[in-house]
């Protein structure tokens, strides 16, 4: 163990990297331009380690560890890509496609969707697990935004940005397991939410077309996230 405050040196995919203490593997990898896939993590929001796409191998650990929540240690040796990891990641993305109703071709976020891009990047050319075809609702009661549960991957970015950045905590989750869903207030229509400030941050951080601006047609919904690093910077280091 080295003293706190000292720089940590570690190896990612055989490359020597240095990191500040308390940095996560994902942060160090990003600084070193090493790609680690992730869906739930977004810089500026707290980490939850939920999507499991960023799992990496760490020498000496018999478990795969999420890069987004695992802080670096001196001398750590990390492998971010292997045949095994690649196949797990593909399968996790496939599970998401089977869980909801993701029809890329008619989606407002077609071409700008993190799930779609992830599938392509990980080499998912088809889904070899059967689809679930759940009947899910669309909430268009808000005057400016729409929530389409069919496209939600339950990353909880909307929940976190609303709570941590906007401070409204309009969003939360209800239900368990496969029946989980994001809700506004106490599962009231978004349009009737009394806590929602209509700031739209949730829409912008949503990785898919689950949250979008009204009036957008297929492929027209591009998310603008510039506010997030800006706000984070302005507020200083949040601990």
């Amino acid at each position: 163990m080295s003293a706190t405050g000292a720089v940590r040196t570690l190896k990612i995919d055989g490359r020597d990297c240095s990191a500040r203490p308390q940095a996560t593997i994902l942060e160090v990898a990003r600084e070193n331009k090493i790609f680690i896939p992730r869906l739930c993590q977004l810089e500026g929001l707290s980490t939850v380690g939920a999507c499991r796409l960023c799992l990496v191998e760490v020498k000496g650990s018999n478990k795969l560890l999420p890069a987004c929540t695992t802080t670096v240690d001196e001398g750590m040796e990390i492998t971010t890509s292997s045949e095994e990891l690649a196949s797990y990641r593909r399968m996790i993305v496939e599970l998401l496609f089977t869980e909801g109703n993701h029809i890329c071709s008619v989606c407002v976020s077609n071409g700008h969707c993190e799930l779609q891009t992830m599938a392509q990047r990980l080499g998912v050319t088809h889904i070899h697990l059967p689809y679930r075809y759940p009947k899910k609702q669309v909430d268009a009661s808000h005057e400016r935004f729409v929530l389409d549960h069919n496209r939600c991957v339950l990353c909880t970015r909307c929940v976190r940005v609303c709570d941590e950045i906007e401070g409204a905590h309009t969003w939360d989750l209800m239900g368990r397991g496969i029946d989980s869903k994001v809700i506004t207030d106490l599962n009231q229509p978004w349009g009737s939410s009394e806590s929602c400030t209509s700031c739209g941050k949730c829409v912008q951080v949503c990785p898919t077309g689950a949250l979008f601006e009204k009036g957008r047609s297929v492929a027209e919904m591009e998310k603008r996230r510039q506010f997030l690093p800006y706000l984070t910077l302005m507020r200083g280091e949040r601990t």
């Binding site: 380690g49 939920a50 797990y88 399968m91 996790i92 998401l96 089977t98 697990l129 368990r176 397991g177």
Partner: protein, 548 residues
């Protein structure tokens, strides 16, 4: 409270007890209560009063006597045990205190079920009134606490626990002494102790029984732990489905506080511990420690990645010790008798005893405490009394939805953490379900997968969707509609969910499937390839309908 004062209470209580030449103990734990043991007790009290035996014969409610399948159970001071007692037997039972025994109610206690047990955690269960602190004190209760507070340093307490070799009884088997010393060394503004009483495995009722039968033992264990790690606030997270355990815990906390054994300045030593109850709202995942902590904090009960472990950053970010009910219940006797005494019991790697809830297709179902290392065969065929109705043994399921099904070949394996894990199951919290030839192992796997699927919190993708997909395949297999490639897909999903899920629930959810695939593959194949269920359990209902 000084050691002398405590001894005074114990002495007085023992004398009071001795004033009664005759005693009748009625089990009033949940098992017997569910077959009206409260009416039995009431009838006995009434009958004794009407005979004017009030000051000679004591009728009291006690905790679990173990053989739940034969309840309501009543024991009398001659040392005999009655089973299947009903209220109208009250007169005959009182008669038998000085006359001849009620033969038709007699429950033999020279059987392996009673003789093979070794009671440490359950030493007072079935003998003391769980609602009176004096009775617990009379059985050396709180002596370990006073000893620790007055004679030992926290380090010495931890050393004793480490010597004992005690491992977490919640299922994972992490060395308790190591956990305690981690929390003791951790730095924080306040430390917490938490008792995990969110027992949720299907068929498991060890913790409920301990809480209902001997709640003070758990409080004492928590007090000693809090002293050892330097905690001043404790929580017992108990599931709301255990109303009796909750009521008895509340009584116990009140009583301990009144005697100055709990609260501020305990025994005048300046040590403080306040214990509060928190009720679980019915989510199995809240038995996972980080989810449990979130729930106590008033948040949605979902796990978070570890590290940081609760020992470093737990409740409200402070060092927190979480142990299971049975782990705490082991602590007082260890301090009383010494860690070395405890370490003699059990096996090399698994010390002490373990309480099991024996259920399913065995003659004797109920609660048993046995030394670690006992074989599954002894559990099933001696203590359990074998399989009823002339059926063949097929498998024993340990560890609930996180465990596996162990076949006949493993019967001679010792019951300890490592051997069970090697065989593809886990020790778990102590549920043990015996299955005979009429159980279809695919159906069993499906049952547990259904449990995991509905209890998945939904936070991480592999568990949320993976358990759904596995359940879908298992349903297809039991419906005889699965294709050959579904078996391969099932294995693929098991591998994924096991290795990528966020918490223990997901990581262990494939175990019932993996173990049945390992030991009973031919049953899967029969469903898939021949559309037949060898046990005759799947699709039977449909056939009956057609016939009728």
């Amino acid at each position: 409270m000084t050691p002398e004062e405590l001894e005074d209470i114990a002495q007085r209580e023992r004398e009071t007890q001795r004033e009664f030449p005759q005693r009748v103990n009625v089990c009033v734990a949940a098992g017997c209560l569910s077959c009206q043991s409260d009416a039995v007790k009431e009838a006995l009290v009434k009958e004794a009063a009407s005979r004017g035996l009030g000051d000679q014969c004591q009728v009291k409610g006690v905790g679990c006597m173990g053989l739940c399948s034969e309840g309501p159970l009543v024991s009398i001071s001659t040392g005999h045990l009655y089973q299947h007692v009903s209220a109208r037997d009250a007169g005959a039972i009182l008669d038998s205190l000085q006359g001849s025994l009620v033969e038709q109610l007699l429950c033999p206690t020279d059987t392996p079920f009673f003789q093979r047990q070794k009671k440490i955690v359950l030493e007072n269960s079935g003998t003391i009134d769980p609602e009176r602190i004096e009775e617990y004190i009379a059985c050396q209760g709180y002596h370990a606490l006073v000893k620790a507070l007055t004679e030992m340093t926290p380090q010495q307490v931890i050393a004793e626990i480490t010597t004992s070799g005690l491992r977490g009884r919640g299922g994972a088997g992490y060395p308790t002494g190591l956990k305690w010393s981690t929390v003791a060394k951790a730095v924080g503004t306040q430390k917490f102790v938490i008792c995990n009483a969110d027992e949720g495995d299907p068929g498991a009722f060890m913790d409920r029984s301990v809480l209902e039968s001997d709640p003070h033992r758990v409080l004492e264990g928590m007090l000693i732990a809090a002293y050892a790690v330097g905690a001043s606030q404790g929580y017992i997270y108990v599931r709301a489905e255990y109303p009796l355990a909750i009521a008895r815990l509340k009584t116990a906390i009140r009583q301990a506080e009144r005697l100055g054994l709990l609260g501020a300045n305990i025994c005048g030593t300046g040590f403080n511990l306040h214990i509060e109850l928190r009720l679980g709202a019915g989510a199995f995942v809240c038995g996972e420690e980080t989810a449990l902590i979130a729930s106590i904090e008033g948040r949605r009960g979902t796990p978070r990645p570890r590290p940081p472990y609760p020992a470093m950053e737990g409740l409200v970010g402070q060092p927190t010790l979480i142990n299971n009910v049975e782990t705490y219940a082991n602590v007082p006797p260890i301090l009383r008798n010494g860690g070395a005494w405890y370490a003699q019991i059990g096996t090399e790697q698994s010390k002490g005893t373990k309480v099991f809830a024996l259920a399913g297709r065995v003659r004797n179902t109920g609660l048993v405490e046995v030394p670690m290392g006992i074989s599954l065969r002894e559990m099933v065929f001696e203590i359990g009394g074998g399989i009823p109705d002339g059926k063949e043994f097929k498998a024993v399921q340990t560890g609930g939805p996180s465990g596996g099904c162990l076949p006949r070949e493993t019967l001679d394996m010792p019951v300890e953490y490592e051997s069970l894990a090697r065989a593809g199951s886990i020790m778990g919290s102590g549920g043990m379900i015996v299955m005979d030839e009429t159980s279809c192992m695919v159906d069993v796997a499906k049952y547990f997968m259904d449990f995991c699927m509905t209890e998945s919190c939904g936070k991480c993708i592999p568990c949320r969707v993976g358990t759904y997909q596995m359940h879908r395949i298992l349903s297809a297999i039991t419906d005889m509609s699965a294709a050959a490639q579904d078996l391969k897909l099932l294995e693929e999903l098991c591998d994924l969910v096991k290795h990528t899920s966020l918490c223990g629930l997901g990581q262990s959810a494939p175990n019932p499937v993996l173990s049945t695939l390992k030991y009973f593959l031919e049953e899967y194949q029969a469903h898939v390839h021949e559309h037949k269920c060898p046990a005759g359990a799947c699709g039977v209902k449909m056939l009956e309908k057609v016939d009728a």
